[in-house]
C-alpha cells in the first residue's frame, strides 16, 4: 500500500479553490443547486443505445479568450482548461504570476480523441479492397490535421493550462483511468504536506461524448445501455454512462493560504491508493477495507462520496464494502455526473469540500435505499474511487 498521509506534525493542506464544469452546469452554485434538486442530465438519444451525461455548454471565451487556443484543443482539453481557470479564479490566484510561476500542476488525463471521419474513411476504403501497402500511410499523411496530435497527447491538457493560464511551475500528467485521479491528488497532497511545495493545481477532465471511447469500453461490455438508472439500481443492468466533466482544485498549505488571506473550503487530510489484483471475489472489497483502515478515525458525523461506476463486478464489491460502514451516508457521483473516468476522483473531492463548506450533504439520488438522508452537518467526508477494471483510491476531506 502506498501510504502518503499528511502525518502529524506535517503541514496542514487546505482546499482553497474549486473549478467545476459538468453535465449539471458550470461553477459551484449551479452544481450545488442541481444536486439539491436531484437533477440528472442524460442524453439517451444522441449515442443510442448508449447513455451519456453531456457537458452543460459553457462560454469558452470566459476562460480561454483566444480562439486560436480553443482551436488547438479537442473537447476534453477545452473542458479541462476551462475548469482549471475556474479553480484559479476560485482560489483568487488567476493571473498572479508570483504564485503561478511556482505552482505544482498534477493532471490526471486520458487522451487520444480520434478524428472519426478519418478512421472510418480508411476502414471503408479498405473494405472496398483498397489494400495497397502504403494506403494507410498516404491517407493519414493527407487526412490527419497536424494539430490533432497535440489534442490527443495526454500531457497537452497540462500544456494548454500552462499556455492559457500561465501555470508554469512544475507539470506532471498521470494516466491510468480512475485511479490516476487519486494518485494525482495523493502526490499533490504529499508534496505540500512534506514541504516540497506550497501550492498545487490538481484535477482532470473528460469528454464522455465520444464514440471512440464507447468502442473502447464496449470491448469490455462496460457501457450502460438503453435506460438510465441510478448507479445502485444497475445490478441487473450493469454499466457506466460516460460523463463529460472538468474538475480542478487548488491545494495549499495552511500557512501559504493564511499569508495571502485565502479561505479554505475544507482540509484534505489524507489520500491513499492501491492496486488490488481482483483475482477472486472479495479481493477488491478487501483492498477498500484496507484503505479505509489507513484513514484516521475521527469523532463527528461523516459521509462517503463514491465514484462507483455501475459496472460489475466492481460495483457489487464496493457495495459489500459500504455495507460495513452503514453509519456513513453514501452518495454516488456516477448517478448525477456519469462516469468521468480520470476526473471522477477529483470531482468527488471537489463535492466533498463543497458539502463541508456549506455545512450539509446533498440529498440522496437512489431508488434502492442504499443512499440515505443526512440531516446532521458532516465534518468529515471519505471520497472513494475504485476503477471499473483496476485501481482503488480513497481520501479523507475534513471541515476546517
Amino acid at each position: 500500500m502506498t501510504d502518503t498521509a499528511s502525518k502529524p506534525g506535517q503541514t496542514e493542506v487546505w482546499i482553497t479553490g474549486i473549478g467545476l464544469a459538468t453535465s449539471l452546469g458550470e461553477g459551484l452554485d449551479a452544481n450545488w443547486a442541481a444536486l439539491g434538486e436531484r437533477r440528472v442530465n442524460v442524453d439517451d438519444k444522441g449515442f443510442a443505445p448508449y447513455v451519456v451525461h453531456p457537458l452543460m455548454p459553457v462560454t469558452l471565451d470566459a476562460q480561454i479568450p483566444k480562439k486560436g487556443d480553443q482551436r488547438q484543443m479537442e473537447a476534453w482539453q477545452r473542458i479541462g482548461t476551462y475548469a482549471a481557470g475556474l479553480a484559479l479564479d476560485s482560489a483568487g490566484i488567476k493571473g498572479n504570476k508570483d504564485i503561478l510561476s511556482k505552482i505544482d500542476m498534477v493532471v490526471a488525463a486520458g487522451g487520444g480523441e480520434r478524428d472519426l471521419s478519418v478512421d472510418t474513411g480508411v476502414l471503408n476504403a479498405e473494405a472496398k479492397g483498397n489494400n495497397a501497402p502504403g494506403f494507410l500511410n498516404e491517407r493519414l499523411m493527407s487526412d490527419l490535421r497536424p494539430t490533432l496530435f497535440l489534442a490527443q497527447l495526454s500531457n497537452l491538457l497540462a500544456g494548454n493550462i500552462a499556455i492559457v493560464h500561465g501555470v508554469c511551475g512544475t507539470s506532471r500528467t498521470f494516466m491510468g483511468e480512475e485511479v490516476a485521479g487519486a494518485d494525482a491528488m495523493r502526490i499533490a497532497l504529499t508534496r505540500i504536506a512534506s514541504g516540497e511545495s506550497d501550492i498545487a493545481l490538481v484535477g482532470g477532465s473528460h469528454n464522455g461524448e465520444r464514440k471512440d471511447l464507447l468502442v473502447l469500453y464496449e470491448f469490455g461490455d462496460f457501457n450502460l445501455k438503453d435506460k438510465f438508472a441510478s448507479v445502485w439500481a444497475r445490478k441487473d443492468h450493469a454499466g457506466f454512462a460516460l460523463g463529460s466533466a472538468g474538475a480542478f482544485l487548488v491545494l495549499e498549505s495552511k500557512a501559504h493560504a493564511e499569508a495571502r488571506g485565502a479561505k479554505p473550503f475544507a482540509k484534505l487530510t489524507n489520500v491513499v491508493a492501491d492496486l488490488s489484483r481482483r483475482k477472486q471475489p472479495g479481493d477488491m472489497a478487501a483492498t477498500l477495507e484496507k484503505l479505509w483502515s489507513k484513514l484516521p478515525r475521527r469523532e463527528g458525523k461523516g459521509a462517503i462520496i463514491t465514484g462507483a461506476t455501475g459496472a460489475e463486478p466492481a460495483t457489487s464489491e464496493e457495495r459489500s464494502f459500504l455495507g460495513k460502514h452503514a453509519d456513513f451516508p453514501v452518495r454516488a457521483t456516477g448517478t448525477m455526473f456519469g462516469h468521468t473516468m480520470e476526473t471522477q476522483f477529483p470531482l468527488g473531492i471537489a463535492l466533498a469540500a463543497l458539502a463541508l463548506s456549506r455545512g450539509a450533504l446533498f440529498p440522496p439520488n437512489d431508488s434502492t435505499g442504499l443512499e440515505i438522508e443526512m440531516t446532521d452537518k458532516p465534518t468529515q467526508i471519505v471520497v472513494v474511487g475504485a476503477g471499473h477494471w483496476r485501481g482503488e483510491g480513497m481520501a479523507l476531506v475534513e471541515a476546517v
Binding site: L123, E126, F149, R172, F174, G176, K211, G391
Partner: protein, 425 residues
C-alpha cells in the same frame, strides 16, 4: 562512511540496479559496447510499409517479439525485460516482491490500427460508420482489447509481475517522462515513504500513425539515406529527430538501506528539477528562460555549483530549434565554464526514445560515470557554428567524470533535468 543524508538533510538516493534496451540491443553490456564503438541503431523501417511516408527510418526494437503485436504490447514487453535486468543486478526483495512503489513513464495508450482494422473487417460491410463498429465491439469477443488499451494496463501488469507496492503511477511528461519517473522515485525516498522505488520508462510506439503525427508537425528528420546518418545533434545540417524505441529501468534506494543490505552502489541521483515552459505547445521559449530555470533548480536541488558539473548528457534531439535552445540555456547558466564541459547526445546513436529517453539517458550517464568514458555524438561532421559546445564528436572520449547533468526538454513545455554522481557528495 559518508553521512547518509544530503546537504539539505534528506536521505541520499542511490541507484543499485539498471536495465536497458534500445535499438542497439538488449542489456547494459551490449548497449554500452556498441554505444562507445559509435554504432547506430537507426535503420530503414521494416515493421510496416513505408510507402508514402516522408520519414522512413527509425530506431526500432525488432528483436523482441510480441504476439498479437501492438505498440503498447511492445512497450510492456520491453519494460518487463529491462525491469528484470535491473532487479537481477540490484538483488533486492524476492521474486515477485519488490519492496517499494512503481513509477512508470509510458506513451499515451489508444486503440491501434491493427485492432481497428480487425474490427472494421468484422463489420462485414463496405460502407459503415462508428455506430457499426460499436454494434460489434461488445459481447466479450474483444475483451482483450479493452485491457490492452487501458492507459494503466502496462503499469498494472508490471506491478503484478514484480510485486511492487501500492498504486503504480503511469505518467507522461512527453520527452521528459523518463526523467519524471526517476524524480517521483527520488521524492518518495527523500520523503521517507519508502526505502526503494522502481522507476521504469518505456516506449515502443514506432507505428505508422505515430510517425505520421510527428511528420505532420515537421519534427522528424527526412534524411532517410543512409538512415544511420539522420540523427545529427548539434550539426549545422540537422533537420529533425529520429523516432526510436527503447526502455530503461532503475532501482532506486536510500543510501542507508543500500549500504545496510550490502548492495553495490552504481551511482547517486544527486538532484532533480523541472520547470514548465508556457510559451508554445511544441516550441521552447526563445529566451530559454524555462530551460535555464530548470537547470538552476536542478543544481540547487543537488546543492551544487555549475563548476561541479563535468559532463552534460544533452537532450540533443537533432531538431534545429531544440539543440540551439539547449545551448543558449546551458551557456546562460554555465557561462565560461560551458566550453570546458564535454557534451554528448545519445540520440545520435539510438534515436529519440521519447517517453523512455530520460531513463535511457540517465542509465547511459551512469555507465559513463562507471567507465570514465564519454560515448560519442555520431554524425558530427559539420558543427553548427552557433552551438559552441565541446561536443564529443564521432569518437568516444576518456575523461574524468564525477557529475553528469542529463537534460530532457520536451513537447508541451516539459523540462526536467537530473544530476547523477558516482559517490554521495
Amino acid at each position: 562512511m559518508t553521512a547518509p543524508r544530503d546537504k539539505l538533510g534528506r536521505p541520499i538516493v542511490v541507484v543499485t540496479g539498471m536495465g536497458i534496451m534500445t535499438s542497439l540491443g538488449a542489456g547494459k553490456a551490449d548497449n554500452w559496447t556498441k554505444l562507445v564503438a559509435g554504432e547506430s541503431g537507426i535503420r530503414t523501417i521494416t515493421r510496416f510499409p513505408i510507402d508514402g511516408l516522408k520519414t522512413t527510418m527509425a530506431g526500432t526494437v525488432d528483436f523482441v517479439s510480441v504476439d498479437p503485436f501492438s505498440s503498447t504490447g511492445l512497450s510492456e514487453r520491453m519494460a518487463e525485460i529491462v525491469t528484470q535486468e535491473a532487479l537481477d543486478q540490484a538483488g533486492i526483495g524476492a521474486k515477485g516482491d519488490f519492496p517499494g512503489p512503481l513509477f512508470l513513464a509510458v506513451a499515451p495508450v489508444e486503440v491501434e490500427w491493427p485492432q481497428r482494422r480487425e474490427l472494421g473487417r468484422a463489420v462485414g460491410k463496405q460502407d459503415f460508420d462508428y455506430n457499426d463498429l460499436l454494434r460489434i465491439s461488445g459481447g466479450g469477443k474483444y475483451a482483450d482489447f479493452h485491457h490492452r488499451f487501458m492507459f494503466g494496463s502496462v503499469a498494472a501488469h508490471l506491478a503484478e509481475s514484480f510485486g511492487t507496492k501500492g498504486s503504480p503511477i503511469s505518467l507522461s511528461t512527453a520527452c521528459a517522462s523518463g526523467a519524471t519517473s526517476i524524480q517521483l522515485g527520488v521524492e518518495a525516498i527523500r520523503r521517507g515513504e519508502t526505502d526503494a522505488a522502481l522507476c521504469v520508462a518505456t516506449d515502443g510506439t514506432v507505428n505508422p500513425e505515430a510517425l505520421v503525427r510527428f511528420s505532420l508537425l515537421s519534427a522528424l528528420s527526412t534524411q532517410n539515406d543512409p538512415p544511420q546518418a539522420a540523427s545529427k545533434p548539434f550539426s549545422k545540417n540537422r533537420d529533425g529527430f529520429v523516432m526510436a524505441e527503447g526502455a530503461g529501468a532503475l532501482v532506486l534506494e536510500s543510501y542507508e538501506a543500500a549500504v545496510a543490505r550490502g548492495a553495490k552502489i552504481l551511482g547517486v541521483v544527486a538532484g532533480c528539477g523541472e520547470l514548465t515552459d508556457s510559451f508554445h505547445r511544441t516550441r521552447s521559449s526563445p529566451d530559454g528562460k524555462p530551460a535555464i530555470g530548470c537547470v538552476l533548480k536542478t543544481l540547487a536541488d543537488a546543492g551544487m555549483t555549475p563548476e561541479q558539473i563535468d559532463h552534460i548528457n544533452a537532450h540533443g534531439t537533432s531538431t534545429p530549434e531544440n539543440d540551439k535552445m539547449e545551448y543558449l540555456a546551458t551557456n546562460a547558466v554555465f557561462g565560461e565554464h560551458t566550453s570546458k564541459i564535454p557534451v554528448t547526445s545519445n540520440k545520435s546513436a539510438v534515436g529519440h526514445t521519447i517517453s523512455a529517453a530520460g531513463a535511457v539517458e540517465a542509465i547511459f550517464s551512469l555507465l559513463t560515470l562507471e567507465h570514465q568514458r564519454i560515448p560519442p555524438t555520431l554524425n558530427y561532421e559539420n558543427p553548427d557554428p552557433a552551438i559552441l559546445f565541446d561536443v564529443v564528436g564521432n569518437k568516444a572520449r576518456d575523461a574524468r567524470v564525477t557529475a553528469v547533468m542529463s537534460n530532457s526538454f520536451g513537447f508541451g513545455g516539459q523540462n526536467a533535468s537530473l544530476i547523477l554522481t558516482r559517490e554521495p557528495a
